[in-house]
């Protein structure tokens, strides 16, 4: 076998090219490589397969580099090899989700990396690692040739040729798509095993993967796809249903298939040997066993595949695609330059994106500052004001564009819920179907990310506490299969996400009783239903058995509320006993910028979000009336709307108390409408929303502050919050 890299250490596939293909062409030093590796791992999340797979390959290259650098002692090389190996084993377990405490596993990997770093910088072997056998083995391998050869045996499974790369990339993109859709179809099938369309789709997915994998000589993927396909073939012929054990097997092969494609991706982008996963063969055997009728044996082991894995790379018997590596190495730089750029997208670090959006926000402020400085006197300088108008248009467009950069579909979160619902309902022994709609709705990326946690809690709660067990459901005259619906849609300038279940509903008497016991509510308080339901968000009522033994819905609900409120959203609950509950999350479209109407009350300026304004008018005396001498009403075109005196609610001194001398702004939030009494309207402005600072926290009726053109901070009116403040005042006064 050839020794492709040992004589040309600098031509080795460069890890930096994984992330920064054009920046650095040559690997400068090993320590740099370690740094990069640690940088990518620090930010890694245990669920990010791409990064993990990437790190997996990098560890291997690292060991290789150390070996080739020629400067290290034998003992050192052996030690590095060992450490890299153990790190890779841990990573592999992570990728295949075989460990429960992923965070701890990840930190173990980090620890190994830190040891490696120490080893490379100081040249000293960390005590823990100098186990006699390593050192002895390393020393006894005094002939470098033997060493390299053995390493080659381990790692040189397959390196891809240039002409294959294009095909390979296509295959990677395609097969990840297929696997994704296979997972979806599988979830559909589990709900409805007779769905032939989903089954054919699933079959097609694996069939295609099998075909192309065979063509590209990717044996593991091919083998896996082949047995899975056979499994589906039986299902198509009606010989078995893809539920229970068979379903778990398919799910498992989808997971492993994803891991395999991940390895392939790394191998393709780094031109490194393709890693071979040790889990594939047991699974293949298991499925074969299952197909052969050993259902009992397969069933018991289907979900507990061997956790121990030792072999990471084995020599593939047919290295026919292995090409002259020296040529490959020589062509490396050219090849990388000509690397096809996928579908024309660029990956950008999120902090850069966030900074861009921040800067655009500041630009918007600066723009309105200049516009304000120019003022109405701009008639004198028509040219300047025209150019300023032009600038404003560009700024506006730039802003829209920059906001859209961060918009992503909620689909990614929703899809996760599908899997979660499946697993949870299994665990709870309930039949639940999760229906998704509107998953193409776009939301700010930060919002979508922050939404994952609360949604998870809520879906889990709905299944856990909302949906009854099948026998209870049947007794209550419902279908035995519970239904949870997750729906996203636009409504009035905000995004609504609804979680509807057809379970037993919330037990408001018990919630209220518990809240009174916990001292959250006064014993004699009379609360509307919606307020009672909101008590489940109270931190003191967070455990299910405290509220009630049957319909708790407390677990993690305070977390849900906090997370949603952090996003300037709100959660509303409605529930009918025996029929089900609806949780509605309302979120603003974007986090950063809103269009606002600047109003003045006395000396103070406030900003009312444009999207909650209907109109503004100056009421005539005959439009005004009072109820019980207290609640003031304005009659606007036949509708009686309550008059909210902003100066009363905010405790400031107005210019005039007389509504007929000032203005009212009609605001709405869903079906609630009201008139806000303000002194003056100052004009419309785009403002960047800022938090009021940690020291103040949440203020009802205020959603944040914004720096106006004059440099002062103005408060942004939170219309729904204001409604609450107003109704509380009426109740408590």
């Amino acid at each position: 076998m050839r020794r492709p890299f040992s004589k040309r250490p600098r031509k080795k596939p460069n890890v930096q090219q994984i992330t920064v293909p054009t920046q650095t062409r040559r690997m400068n030093s090993i320590s740099e490589q370690i740094e990069q590796l640690s940088a990518s791992l620090i930010s890694a999340d245990a669920s990010d397969l791409q990064i993990l797979a990437d790190a997996h390959a990098r560890f291997e290259q690292l060991a290789q580099c150390v070996k080739e650098s020629g400067t290290s002692s034998e003992a050192m090389v052996g030690c590095v090899d060992r450490m890299a190996d153990s790190a890779r084993t841990m990573l592999e377990q992570l990728i295949l989700m075989e460990v429960d405490d992923t965070a701890q596993q990840l930190s173990k990997v980090m620890k190994t990396l830190a040891d490696l770093q120490q080893l490379m910088t100081t040249g000293a072997l960390p005590d823990a690692l100098v186990s006699t056998d390593t050192v002895q083995k390393a020393f006894s391998d005094s002939q470098p040739k033997v060493d390299v050869a053995s390493h080659e045996q381990k790692s040189l499974a397959k390196v891809f040729a240039d002409d294959e790369l294009e095909l390979l990339r296509e295959f990677i993109t395609e097969s990840s798509g297929h696997l994704e859709s296979a997972e979806q179809q599988m979830l559909i099938l589990e709900e409805d095993p007779t769905n032939t369309e989903a089954l054919s789709c699933l079959f097609r997915a694996f069939h295609t993967i099998k075909g192309v994998a065979g063509f590209l000589d990717l044996q593991q993927i091919q083998a896996l796809a082949h047995v899975t396909e056979s499994l589906m073939d039986k299902a198509r012929n009606g010989q078995l249903q893809l539920t229970g054990t068979a379903g778990d097997l398919v799910m498992r092969s989808i997971d492993i298939g994803k891991a395999l494609v991940g390895c392939l991706d790394v191998a393709a982008s780094t031109r490194s040997p393709l890693a071979v996963l040790s889990q594939v063969d047991p699974l293949v055997e298991k499925i074969e066993g299952f197909l052969a009728g050993k259902q009992g044996a397969a069933a018991s082991e289907a979900t507990s595949l061997p956790a121990s894995l030792e072999v990471i790379n084995v020599v593939k018997d047919a290295p026919k695609l292995e090409i002259n590596s020296e040529v490959a190495a020589a062509d490396q730089s050219a090849g990388n330059e000509a690397k096809p750029q996928g579908d024309g997208t660029v990956k950008v670090a999120t902090d850069r994106l966030d900074r861009l959006i921040d800067m655009v926000g500041e630009l918007v402020i600066a723009n309105s500052m200049v516009a304000q400085d120019l003022g109405p006197s701009s008639k004198e300088n028509v040219r300047l004001s025209r150019h300023l108008g032009h600038l404003g248009k560009i700024v506006r467009e730039l802003q829209d564009l920059s906001m859209s950069l961060r918009m992503v579909q909620v689909q990614q979160v929703f899809t996760k819920m599908k899997r979660l619902a499946r697993d949870t309902s299994r665990k709870m022994m309930k039949d639940v179907e999760l229906i998704l709609s509107g998953s193409e709705t776009e939301l700010d990326r930060n919002v979508v990310e922050a939404l994952a946690d609360p949604l998870m809690h809520m879906v889990r709660n709905s299944i856990d506490h909302g949906i009854e067990t099948p026998d209870v459901r049947v007794k209550a005259g419902k279908k035995s299969t519970g239904r949870v619906e997750l729906k996203a849609f636009h409504k009035g300038g905000s995004i609504n996400i609804e979680i509807t279940d057809d379970g037993k509903g919330l037990n408001k008497e018990r919630i209220l009783k518990k809240a009174i016991e916990a001292g959250i509510v006064a014993p004699d308080a009379v609360l509307p239903d919606s307020e009672i339901y909101k008590l489940i968000f109270a931190a003191g009522l967070s455990t299910a058995d405290k509220v009630t033994d049957i319909s708790g819905r407390g677990v993690g609900m305070d977390v849900v509320k906090q997370n949603i409120e952090k996003l300037r959203g709100r959660v509303d609950i409605s529930s009918t006993p025996g029929v089900g509950s609806i949780f509605t999350i309302r979120l603003p479209l974007t986090l950063a910028v809103i269009d606002g109407l600047v109003v003045k009350v006395g000396q103070h300026k406030y900003i009312v979000p444009i999207n909650s304004i209907e109109q503004s008018l100056r009421p005539t005396p005959d439009m005004l009336s009072t109820v019980n001498g207290r609640g003031e009403l304005v009659s606007v075109r036949g509708a009686l709307l309550p008059l909210l005196r902003l100066h009363d609610l905010f405790g400031v001194e107005p210019t005039t108390q007389d509504p007929t001398k000032s203005l009212v702004v009609i605001v709405h939030e869903n079906d609630r409408r009201a008139c806000l009494l303000v002194d003056e309207l100052l004009g419309q402005e785009q403002v960047v929303i800022k938090n009021l600072g940690e020291g103040i926290g949440d203020v009802r009726g205020i959603s944040g502050g914004a720096v106006l053109g004059d440099g002062n901070v103005s408060l942004i009116v939170d219309v729904p919050g204001l409604f609450d403040v107003y109704s509380n005042q009426l109740t408590f006064n």
Partner: protein, 162 residues
């Protein structure tokens, strides 16, 4: 107070005045000192929270130390200042807060032996805000534990918002 806090108390303190009383803040907690400016009033917050200001694009809350310590408020003068302090919240984030004080004096190095524990005042003075009493010649500076002073705010707005 245990010995560990005792050994770390010596150091540089920014001293300021509230009426006739001299106070000190650990210099590492101070971010900057700015002149008094227009403060945007925020409704429905405790009375010692005067509102928010724009500190170069960042909105920070401003509290009046006089009313925080239940001292009578006075008119603002040329010497009235806002000291911006940076403290860590329980969630690990940094938080900047403006403190309105009558006058900023100077930065003093106070050695550990010149710092004494706050004497008990009975129930009339809450000493948990006090890090210690610094002696500078005949004068006494009340060294504040600013995290405690600000930390006590947290519960109040939460109660209002509920």
């Amino acid at each position: 107070m245990n010995t560990t806090t005792r050994t770390t108390r010596g150091g540089k303190y920014l001293t300021f005045a509230l009426g006739k009383e001299g106070y000190g803040l650990e210099i590492l907690k101070v971010r900057e000192i700015i002149g008094i400016m227009d403060i945007t009033v925020v409704p429905r917050v405790p009375s010692h929270v005067k509102g928010v200001i724009n500190l170069r694009g960042q909105v920070i809350s401003v509290i009046d130390l006089r009313s925080k310590f239940a001292m009578p408020e006075v008119d603002r003068t040329e010497e009235t200042c806002i000291i911006v302090v940076e403290t860590s919240c329980t969630n690990g984030r940094k938080r900047s807060t403006g403190l309105i004080v009558d006058k900023v004096s100077e930065v003093l190095s106070i050695t550990d032996e010149n710092i004494e524990d706050a004497p008990g005042f009975g129930s009339s003075v809450d000493t948990q805000f006090i890090l210690g009493m610094g002696k500078i010649g005949a004068a006494v500076k009340i060294l504040l534990n600013i995290s405690k002073v600000l930390g006590a705010d947290d519960e109040v707005p939460a109660a209002l918002a509920a």
